[in-house]
Symmetry: D2
Subunit: 390 residues, 4 copies
Amino acid sequence: MNRSPLNGRRIRLGMVGGGEGAYIGGIHRFAARLDDQYELVAGAFDVDAERGHRFATQNYIAPERSYSDYATMAQFEAARADGIDVVAICTPNFTHFPIAKTFLEAGIDVICEKPLTTTLQDAEALAEVVSQTGRFLGVTYTYSGYPLIVEARARVQAGLIGKVRTVQVEYPLEWMATGVELKNNQQAAWRVDPQKNGRGGSIGDIGTHAYHLAGYVTGLKAESVAADLATFVEGRALDDNAHVLIRYEGGARGMLWSSQVAIGCSNALRLRVYGETGSLTWAQEQPNELIYTSLEGYTQIIKRGRDDLDAITRARTRTPPGHPEGYIEAFTNLYSGFAAALRARDEQRAISGIGALIPQIHDGLKGVAFVDAVVDSHQQGTVWKQPKYR
Amino acid sequence: MNRSPLNGRRIRLGMVGGGEGAYIGGIHRFAARLDDQYELVAGAFDVDAERGHRFATQNYIAPERSYSDYATMAQFEAARADGIDVVAICTPNFTHFPIAKTFLEAGIDVICEKPLTTTLQDAEALAEVVSQTGRFLGVTYTYSGYPLIVEARARVQAGLIGKVRTVQVEYPLEWMATGVELKNNQQAAWRVDPQKNGRGGSIGDIGTHAYHLAGYVTGLKAESVAADLATFVEGRALDDNAHVLIRYEGGARGMLWSSQVAIGCSNALRLRVYGETGSLTWAQEQPNELIYTSLEGYTQIIKRGRDDLDAITRARTRTPPGHPEGYIEAFTNLYSGFAAALRARDEQRAISGIGALIPQIHDGLKGVAFVDAVVDSHQQGTVWKQPKYR
Amino acid sequence: MNRSPLNGRRIRLGMVGGGEGAYIGGIHRFAARLDDQYELVAGAFDVDAERGHRFATQNYIAPERSYSDYATMAQFEAARADGIDVVAICTPNFTHFPIAKTFLEAGIDVICEKPLTTTLQDAEALAEVVSQTGRFLGVTYTYSGYPLIVEARARVQAGLIGKVRTVQVEYPLEWMATGVELKNNQQAAWRVDPQKNGRGGSIGDIGTHAYHLAGYVTGLKAESVAADLATFVEGRALDDNAHVLIRYEGGARGMLWSSQVAIGCSNALRLRVYGETGSLTWAQEQPNELIYTSLEGYTQIIKRGRDDLDAITRARTRTPPGHPEGYIEAFTNLYSGFAAALRARDEQRAISGIGALIPQIHDGLKGVAFVDAVVDSHQQGTVWKQPKYR
Amino acid sequence: MNRSPLNGRRIRLGMVGGGEGAYIGGIHRFAARLDDQYELVAGAFDVDAERGHRFATQNYIAPERSYSDYATMAQFEAARADGIDVVAICTPNFTHFPIAKTFLEAGIDVICEKPLTTTLQDAEALAEVVSQTGRFLGVTYTYSGYPLIVEARARVQAGLIGKVRTVQVEYPLEWMATGVELKNNQQAAWRVDPQKNGRGGSIGDIGTHAYHLAGYVTGLKAESVAADLATFVEGRALDDNAHVLIRYEGGARGMLWSSQVAIGCSNALRLRVYGETGSLTWAQEQPNELIYTSLEGYTQIIKRGRDDLDAITRARTRTPPGHPEGYIEAFTNLYSGFAAALRARDEQRAISGIGALIPQIHDGLKGVAFVDAVVDSHQQGTVWKQPKYR
């Protein structure tokens, strides 16, 4: 592989999965386009090759770069002088590992959906591949892309709320409150299948987001977890509701709730962090506000877009206060962060600005290890278990 | 003891504790006055007798009915033809038992603060006294006095949200985020003393409120609890933060958080109940709204005071929608409920209306048993424990 | 008339109107009881004397002090050594004048509902009576009883938001969105009758509240008003929606909206004041929070009950932050304020604390003059009109 | 001019203004990119040509298509076979007219910022050019791009809230609360200059947005307006606060407030529409929720992204409920709507889907006529004035 420098040009992006009827693939494309950092030039969009080709045409992909399978795509793109610089993997969990491995070994960087893999062995093997190939692997822990999450992290690190005591994080959803997997909902179908989704149900699908966010903002590492999983919709082999207690290194305590059956919760990820001298609260559905309360009891609404936010936050916002930004912008922050990281590597510079703090392989590994510890704890009677990676 | 019928007159109320500088005693008096069901005619307001007498004078209590100690008060009031019908106990937890016992045995009904007692043995002994004397004992689980909590209960019972799956309840406070007990704050001082507060810190003081509320609204009984307690402010002998997992009979799961150190949380009791076909959410700081979401995803704001609320709710509201009611009104609902219960007994009628669903001795017993199970679970490594009374 | 000093005893209260089926009378009684400043001992509760007597009995009024008409009541109570100190007038607007006049001339102080009278002549005549008799007349501009309104006033006076530029105040209701006056709703029936309600419909009934609140908080006097009134429900002789522009002395501008037909608005009084260096926002349906934003853009939530509020606010609050207070507590603040004023007069002291800033005769006069100016402006084509009293 | 069909390719976009340090130009580019409907291929980005060329290079514009002035750009682009299809005008108000005229007459379609022009004569002249050339002119009334605004419009049209009675619309901002125009803020400088901004200050800059939104959602036409303008920051020649009463055809009434000096208001556009049988409320800062209340008093939160929204809404949303969308997505909806309109014209099809209901020349004309009527009304003493175009 021999690529021209990234400087002065857009990064060439390929995509596996994410074709017709897919959800997250479209979000990846919005995120790739918004800041004009990428151009989508190749893809293996669908397991149904014909449908994939049709989709490629609609997306202005040259016919010869619409591939019937990912392996061929990796091989041919690696061989082209103008081949893709990076591939986005937007397929169900169980396929992340072989696809990522293939591209990394072909010398192509990877942007991968979470959870990284369905088993800890796979995650460890993938980490080994990343290490051996020296390639980049970004993981789309979307919510760490929100500017006020980065602001919360910066303020916690700066000591604004003092030593963290308690972390309350939750991620409830409602769309799987009934057996939608039996009603032709493909998004749901693979999520309830342990082979495709991994050992955790809600805890793998969304609990990992919540866990990542809590660690991202506080900087704390989990020492052990104790969990109580439940499956409310009949016929499911995986949890659709998870209650987890967390003990962090240094004495902080956490409580994590994930649910796929919480009616009324569209995408109600929420993080609250309480420290010795203050607290911070953020809710994904109102992402343009961060609530800070000082020990003296003053409650302040911190608004995205304001001038006195951290530089790291300002690098992640595009509109002034009062002009709401949302999910696509958060996702774009990850994509543009990945782009910044790739450009920095290309130019042998340190990563900075929007490229700082992006989720990479270790974050992916931590997520899978968390699911393992949670499921083990539950199966053994809510005993305390230590995640292997933290 | 020989009392005139309650019909056509106000109930005569006495009070133990609640004098100068007290907090909850004042609330009891507001609650007793608002609906004009009681007249406060006697009291042993203070362990400092002189201060107590001064307070009595300011509150229009006849000098001969301002007592230096509760035992004398019980004796003399029981002997008067116009003696008090009921006594309100507004003292620290560890004194509830002897005071309540004394009045009950003197033939006087009791309204008692929660938690009922500091030990399960005391609670059981008190239940025995209630049973033997046949007297009334109401417990001020304040939050069950809120009209929309009663509405939530009615709707859950009517099947609006289907079988309950998950209960998320929390009661965080901020006022003990630092060692205020060392700075002359008497309210805090006894709360951190196991002899005076009982085995639980935050879990006893406020966790019991949360636990009661969850059971009150859902009608569910806890099968077992698993807990992780923490003490964040140095020098405290009791928890100031408690994380509890709950398994309810029938399979529902619960998560309970109580904290005395959560900066930003004034009195942030919140209950969310998720069932098979809907959910209900209520927050004590915005008590005039109950949020209902149906399985179809329609989110509706149910407002206190509207015509189509349950009769049981309408009996507990005094103003039209949009005219906010709050904490004192909720407390009044308990007091007026106790009055209704006393009048019903006096007239050998069934209790109805505002007198229905009031917390009594069994609720008190359940609360103390919950604290015991939680502390045992924590001390034994977060094992599952069954509360003795449920 | 010869009354014992008020010191050391409750104030004796009488009531005209407010009997069975009445709404505001009940609120007056709650407000009189909550702080234990009054005892209700006499009344002419109903134009239907028998119904009034029944109501009196239920309210523990001695039979000889339940009167068939207000004139008799004034005469007899004035003659009793233990006669009422003050009377609350809870009748439809058009009767305020003769009743208030009768009691004042009998030497009895008055608490009167707003608007004071239905015509400006009556209001002026009443002011003359007050002046000649030297009696007290308090007007229940309820919303000025909310603690955070008093706090807002104190902060504006202290210069927190600088010179006021713009005042946005609104008071929309929904309950008269259809012709409820034709469906046996007596509350509505007199409100649409110019003889009983006065020249203004919504502007008289609720617009006066909004106008009073804006003036109360800002301290500004209206220089002129320009109005556009509308009547949306067929058959009404008065406005049920009013849009008013206000020019205040000194250059500030105001916008006032009152409506009785705004579906979705339970009691949605809201005040926003913008100054040169900050702003304050308060909404009656969430009365425990006052939102302050500084010129620098920091938005702070000021919570009722906090320690650093003005003394004048703390005198008006009974519970800690997070324990919501509402409408009845606000009303009580007026009643206890009236009591403080009466006691101060009795003891020839200056009024202070909760007795400060209570609405009296001049506030009543201003309200009626405002309605006059608004209706004149509208009738003359939205020309600017100056209210006679400001 | 001779362009290849738009089918199967991206629309070629040029831009005038919007270079370094500009605000709205960046938003136009985000909006052009997000849905992949456009490619930006040419521009005259800056009055400082060198700075403009530098900006062009950074944005991957071919050097020969970075122009030093708009006239040259129009001439050369019109001449190229692969010339731009449409130009976006992102310059201060007073330049809209000559630029738009130039491109339209060169045969190039136009996307123009609002207000369309600074004088009504210019607006009329531009409408004449549009009419004579037959070209497309889209106006970026941004807020009509929000999906729930389109939903509100659809529901009002479908009769959900019955005949509209009252419209409350407001658009307050805070950023010009002090004389920022004197402190090197170029965005502010031209906005306070009548030559560059037109006759209206806040009313032209943001009041026109509010006015457009109210008409868009209700379908009502203003019959007359009465206004009170104020200038609070010394030295300004234009209003920075405007209060406007509106009478709509058919009897509905409106109240409009625009302000550039309302501290605490980031971008607080808000619309409330009250009809005979219901109401709808929407706030730009929480754009993913639309509040509906029925006559019966049920308040429902309508969430963007839900399945049962109107098709016209679903065409304007990219993420599921709970995944917030914001300002850039709203702007994109206009851009993609313009694209849909251009493609439909190209293929001689009717406009549908996201192309429906986009703001065009008549909307621009209406906005300028509104400013004229408002300023006339104010200058003549708040008399009622009829806008020339409605």
